[in-house]
Symmetry: D4
Subunit: 241 residues, 8 copies
């Protein structure tokens, strides 16, 4: 297989097809999902990404596999709270702020996955922790600050009530992240997830359980759009009758 | 079967064993669950209850069956919102107040089932409607009033977030009632139910979906206990080792 | 109750507390959820909203109830496909375009709920229908147009695969709306919902089943943010240690 | 951050906002949920609570983390059955008795969580163990004693039938706690939970699976209300029409 | 197709293969499941069964379809409560008694399906209704009678607690039938079903929701075995090592 | 606590109320559920049972806990396949045979729990293993032997199809035991359980997942009834109208 | 929009993009899913399909909508059992036979959907009905015939056991179709679906509940492949390492 | 037990009935399901299979048990990725190609189970890995190759969207394998499973979660049928009326 790096949109590793064209299409290079892959596979994909894009991010990586990866592919940083590992980061910083708000101290690992992903993507982050609805004054004390954030990510487990309250307080987009914190009827985060989807407040959308990474990605797409401003409208779509 | 009304603890109707001893045991006569019974069966049970206890309550009764029952057993009142029908009511009024708080106008039928059951049981009721968490200031405007209620029943559908917020604001017992209002991920009230059970606030307990009746009953048991004051402690229980 | 319109943040109707402050807080007045409310209740709330905000929107309203509402509160428009009814609309038009893409013709009612909500909110809409993944070339034919939309709403039932494909093709935020179209294993939209949440593509978030309205609201919040540009960052949030 | 202990309602620890105002609002200081927090985080929160409120309670703490916490924050007591750890306790004792009744010996850890929480809150407890419905005479032998308890907490796993039977025997409030004891169709306590919620007896409410703590809290709120007696009714609530 | 009735084990109707050999194998002719079949199909199968076996039973037949069937195949009896229709019945009566016990009046249709199936099979039935566990004395009043029944069928909806209590009171086999009576958390009978399967009492087994027919069949198999007495043991089974 | 063994129906151990009257009521002494109890608790209960009833059975006991129990309460037998431990056994042998049939070799632990429980109860057992429906001739080879068994217990995991086939081949009662063998869509035995409950064959009933013990108990109740013959019918039950 | 029929791969109807290229890609033209579309929409799509491909098939069409469609687009055939409507059919007949086997008479509508779809696709069909496992001899009587079918479609509801048995009897591919026939624990076909997926027999695959259409399509693809014979292998796929 | 190898269709091992007739009936000898069996049991079954059929395959075998089996039954090969162990293989090679396509690198173990099973069965395999829909061009690059495969197996976790896209691109049968890769809303593969069953593309069928083995078996049955060509049609099936 003779391939020339600058031309090939797909990096053929046999077990993986690295999607080098993703940066052009989506604005950011492919990210590596760390579960279910061996350290050797991860290291090989990261090597290719760093070679072509000068940065790489691996998610949901446990500490012992991270050590193995670090041995094969040095130069990365690993945070055991967020289970993220990264090499390099976004070449420039976005304008605007994403507030990462979490309901309880136990939700912090997911909040950190969101916050650190945002930082890797070049988005400014403001953190607010442990403001669950059982003591609503803790949240209300930050009412004005919340209203100034350009995007708000709200991380909550158990009944997942916080995003509805926050969404009612601000005018900017809210992205809700249910966590698997809780027991019994919380069903490993399913209850928080369903609650957020059923929420009575409008102006929020939801990502998968414990998916701080996905919420950050969505938030960064919004900030990048704000940066670029609106495009010329597409003309070709047909209309239903 | 020759039975003498004042002596018989069970009223044998063949298809039903009316539990006349329940008033002595539980403080209130048996109540008739209206679903799955014919109008004739309901009317016969009500007749027996009214004869022995001078009052009766039927729950979850639709309007057309209520009409049939009314024809066979006159003297009752039917409310199509709460789907309750009753004859007579509690001989005396309890002290204290139960606040019945509901999240949205669509939850009102369940809130009314709670409120009217309380009134039938002789408990004073204060109603507060449409104070869902998406506009939290509507609830906070009533913060002091809520804190003065002796028991608070909170009725909410969709994500069911309101009881957690209310429980954090008061020191008295809160009883949460999930409703089947919502669609999709709200799973006919299952989501609100699970959310309330997983709630981060302590000091509340939960009843079945749309069970305003059951919440009212629990609240009335509490008010009656407040009225009587604490009993002498039972001495006989054994201790684990 | 003597209330002066310009001062009162809450409109007390007894059965409803109209949240007049929502326009100031969230940028848009309160919207009326049409299920579980009587036509009389809806009409009364709409009257208050129109009086104070010169516009109103009711969702999930069936045709016969819409007729009743129209009799009590004339001047509105009702679309039986989207089940929306509205009076007036946003005073100004936002810049940018929201593409509303749907997988199959059977998903059109939900797509129309999204599109018409956007129009009521003043957001320009481009519609693309019946581009499900079983005939992927139909979607790819619109690849460039999709990439020019500022926000993409993707509506799909059954297995809900379309949002993942679309998200991989564009750099702007994608909002996925599962629909209840399908049968058997599609579980009334639960399968599409879970699939979208589990999606392998990053840069999308999800709203409730059949909730075209909610997706539109989130999209409009994004366009409004683009319009305003980023705010000054909030300074006060604390940092986790 | 210069904060003066007697004035600050929120204790800012960065990763946690300790809600010092909770004692004033709810009558009891904040309690620490032990899962998902590090021993260092728990110890820091406990230190702050003990400093301000002279007592603290941590729930769902496993034995090895408890040892770490004890090292950093001495003076506490840990019970491996209930997995509770506490420093100090309620300054005064409530009147009245809470019966903690459990269906089987395997349910004892949850029953102990309830009983010890009550003791920490200052509520007198009477324990009755292993009186499951398969040998109903064991329960009936305590019929009079049960009727004298001011609140009854009933803890049961498997099919969760005991609370319905107990509720039918007494006039005071019953709080049901499903446990995760059982296998197969018991679904880790979901079956007991749903059964208790569907119970045919009126006068009981339910808390989360294995949540002896939450049941105790609700019971203590009731005893405290009995102690205070009913308040003046709130006047301001509006009435539905 | 020339077939001679006395020889053919299968009655070929094209849309149905009537299993005439079932009476020889199982002791009773095939029964017709009434749902999802047209009245014409049912009548044709019944005709064949009556011709060969002089009796037939159809289950889960609604009233309007029953009328159609009656027109095509006269001589049957239809009971709208049990939704059973039958022609002829068992040629001889079994010894012993099956008690059919039901928890609430709303469960009676299922109890009647069981009782009438038993009568069609020639088994003596004793009925006991409305003895749910919320008023446990109603059941205990029949304690001795229950202990004399050779088989006990217990029919209950909601939390389905009755079978556990009954099983603890008797030494003979108990067959539990969950019903779909209840709402919300009762999940159309799933909760009662799971509860009965998780029951703490030993000596009972369970059939499908609302399946009074199946419980009766199992009970009749037991009575028939009692009638015949034990067989010579089968010698040929292999033993695990 | 002064208690005289021959008179006391309940053995008060504090953490357990040993139900000594169960032998009189149900024919067999109480059995100890081994999960969730400490070895010390189990040993104490067993000691009491052996003292009064000269036999005891513990279910669901893992090997390490069994060793501890054996140290405190010698004289028992433990089988790691069935996870049963017993002291003594039934004083006399029942007539008749229970066939324990299992679908696959992987289901053997559950089948052995059934078979050994039967042996402890004094019931003769015939074992037939690995006759799953994918090779139906293996089952049909034993068709006559199966028809001679007085009760058939059928143990199967995965899709749980075997009990329906067996029930169609015999006239005696069949008790179906779903197992947790399988993966993915078998949902830890839930699929086999639901399948058996939905079975098209009549004459079988079902017990909990992996509950070989419960099936054995039901089978032994049937054999004991066959031994005793039918009782005089109970006269007192009322009839529905 | 100026489009020339012979060249355009997509038929733009605004509300639908008719995928004319599907016949070239998949061998058969697009089929219309009848649910959730108006009669006018269906008729318009059918018109386009008939114009280009000289045939069309609509699935899951109820009788009243079929009448409307017939009025706008004459020349079709509608079968109320299968709810299929079609115009024209496959130009040539495939070799080989598909056996469509169904477990009970109530499953016939789904079996007919499969059989008639096959006929529309040009595949020879052999039908075998009502051979459920409760009377296994009915199936075994057709053992040789089944083994001669080139593909076997097995349709079954309730516990869905038939496909496992059939798969064990033949060497050709088996496609299993669960149906929604049954009640209670059959969960509208979910139980049969999960059972078939968990099946112990190898050599079968599964389609959606009630999806006779999909099974037929898969069977026809197999027959068409048999007709064509194997292709030259694709050379380009990469190998994992 | 005196049994002669060449004549006996069933190999009686006591704990297992080895189905030697399966090769004649189904074309391939029985395969051993490795979970829930001891190494000794597996080795004994394999010994019998190798003796009679000169090959054997064990599935879902973990590495440590594989070592034990290897010690008792040498000559096999074990692959820790696929968890398959085999002795010998198919005596001849089938014509045609099965493409095994997987969505992500994390899905490779399931894809390898499919590929290696196919190789053991004598079917030629082409592998294509990491072509998930988030980068659709990676799949489209192989469009022509896919269309030339005689059967396509598509392995995907998370939302499971890939099979729908592939099915729309080819005319040959597609078999979809959901995997348990993912977290939160992916529900251990249930979401991918339900999504594939609900798929909008026609021409595919589905096997159990992680069941690469089953998909391979179905594919090999299809190739073997292609090899043999269609049989003479069975004449005897009856027709529904």
């Amino acid at each position: 297989m003779s391939e020339r790096p600058p031309l090939e949109p797909i990096g053929h590793l046999g077990f993986a097809q690295v999607d080098h064209a993703r940066e052009a299409r989506n604005g950011v290079p492919e990210v590596v999902y760390g579960e279910g892959k061996s350290a050797a596979q991860i290291a090989a994909i990261v090597a290719r990404l760093v070679e072509r894009h000068a940065r790489a991010l691996v998610t949901r990586l446990n500490a012992s596999k991270a050590e193995e990866v670090a041995r094969e592919q040095p130069g990365g940083h690993y945070d055991p709270r967020s289970r993220l590992m990264w090499w390099g980061r976004a070449p420039e910083t976005l304008r605007g702020t994403v507030a990462v708000v979490c309901a309880g101290t136990s939700d912090l690992p997911v909040a950190e996955e969101a916050a650190q992903t945002l930082e890797w993507l070049g988005a400014p982050v403001a953190r607010l922790s442990d403001v669950g609805v059982a003591g609503i004054d803790r949240l209300l004390a930050h009412r004005e600050a919340l209203a100034r954030a350009d995007v708000v990510i709200v991380v909550a487990g158990m009944e997942g009530a916080l995003p509805s309250v926050v969404t009612g307080l601000v005018r900017n987009p809210v992205i809700a992240v249910p966590t698997s914190i809780g027991y019994g009827a919380s069903l490993n985060g399913i209850t928080a997830l369903l609650g957020m989807l059923s929420g009575c407040a409008t102006g929020m959308s939801v990502v998968n359980i414990d998916n701080g990474f996905g919420a950050a990605w969505q938030a960064a797409r919004i900030l990048a759009l704000v940066e670029r401003g609106p495009a010329e409208p597409p003309a070709s779509f047909s209309l239903p009758t």
